[in-house]
Symmetry: C2
Subunit: 273 residues, 2 copies
């Protein structure tokens, strides 16, 4: 169970309430050891200033969210390639442990899932070339299969690691309990990833019932995921990074006082994760 | 693309509008070749009378929905075993091609997914013994991973077929496009199932956006699933049964004139499936 200094705050968790500057201050106030900004918050603050503030606060950066979305324009375009290269530069500038990739789903009007997956792999290869030179690790985040159409067509750890096998060094996975907890292959694939490729460990909880496909994720302990068990598998796989808390919660946590949110994260981290 | 006589109507598709007797008459009126009753509709009509009416209408029975729910009371109870045996008897009485199993999710308050899966396998083994003697095929339906907590902890074709491998003859899978379309392993697992174990082929469509986890499924052609491709894999696997249309749609198809629903099913079957 992680103490506060082993927890990282993904800014999406308080995205409706706080700027990145406020998140950084909040992490300091609550003794949280790391942060994982989303790019919109980063751009709002300015990457150079954010990098400076994060360093000054003594926070680790468990990841930058997010690159990817390779299928946004159907075929892979120069615009998409360039945006991902900018994301790599930003990840390098803030010293992120990895650049987290939400790879994109089906293009508008398309039913060609195999085609989308091919575009994604082509895009990842392009970004990876650039990221290797920049010394940034690329982390594919397999998203829950309910997002296959509209957010990410990489949907299991096994599928993500097959891509990593083909693309070679410098690329791994960001494993989010919410997306993968159901997978009968999960433990085996986490061990397959190993310390070199298990680049991030994201936590929140699966609520029953889940009222919205995207924005009804739960605080750790409020749902059905056996987070201590999954964390033990991450440890067994050699993962030594932070436990990054990322909760999309339009109906609950996004409506609360963010200091209450962070206090709850710290408390739950110590008891149920 | 199936003509009407190669389509089966799962009664859930018009469950808010029609009794089983009305479904049987509706299938005849629209030239639909088969039916798959849910047990509540069957009990309402009476199994013996339903069997007689289905035979008189010349309809095939592509399946009986549903047995399973082995985790309903935590550990496997005699009550759950008995209910599944009654389902086997009913499937035999109406001449169903298979008894479709929605196996159940986590028990109330539990986070023990591996434990739930063990209970399910124990339950399936019990039902299978009885079903073999009754000459009824048992079909595990892997449900979409978004139902792992509350409906079924068997979530991929590969996982279901591993169970079949362990339990032996007389058990296979009911493959529903809605639940499995996203799976990178799908084609390989359908071929692995083969004609002996691919016992049912269910169709509907995945809508973008999906507004509800359970009851916002789409009419074939209205979503993003490449149904002709998936049907070609079913055919390649040796499946020769009916294309069973099962659409949970509280916001749309359950509110329409059921004759319009059936006419649309026949039209879409001929063009997009």
């Amino acid at each position: 169970m992680p103490t506060a200094d082993r927890i990282s705050l993904n800014t999406a968790t308080v995205r409706e309430q706080w700027s990145l500057a406020e998140c950084i201050e909040g992490c300091q106030r609550h003794g949280i050891g790391g942060i994982a900004p989303w790019r919109d918050k980063l751009h709002e603050m300015g990457t150079a200033q954010a990098a400076k503030a994060i360093r000054a606060a003594g926070l680790e950066v468990s990841g930058l969210c997010r690159g990817g979305w390779y299928t946004a324009e159907g075929a892979l375009t120069q615009g998409v390639r360039d945006d991902n290269r900018r994301a790599v530069d930003e990840a390098a500038e803030i010293g992120a442990a990895c650049l987290v990739m939400v790879v994109g789903g089906l293009a508008e009007g398309s039913r060609d899932l195999a085609g989308a997956r091919a575009v994604v792999e082509e895009g990842l290869a392009d970004t990876l070339d650039y990221a290797r030179a920049a010394g940034v690790k690329v982390a594919i985040e397999p998203l829950h299969p309910m997002y296959a159409a509209d957010r990410a067509c990489v949907n299991t750890m096994g599928q993500a690691l097959d891509i990593c096998d083909r693309l070679g060094h410098g690329i791994g996975v960001a494993c989010d309990a919410y997306h993968v907890w159901w997978d009968p292959e999960l433990k085996r694939q986490m061990l397959r990833a190993g310390p070199e490729r298990l680049l991030a460990w994201h936590i929140c909880d699966w609520l029953v019932p889940t009222r919205d496909l995207l924005t009804d994720r739960g605080m750790m302990g409020d749902g059905v995921i056996d987070l201590p068990l999954l964390a033990s598998w991450a440890a067994e796989a050699g993962f030594e990074g932070l436990h990054e808390v990322e909760i999309f919660s339009a109906l609950d946590w996004w409506t609360r006082d963010p200091d209450e949110v962070l206090a709850t994260i710290v408390e739950r981290g110590a008891t149920v994760c």
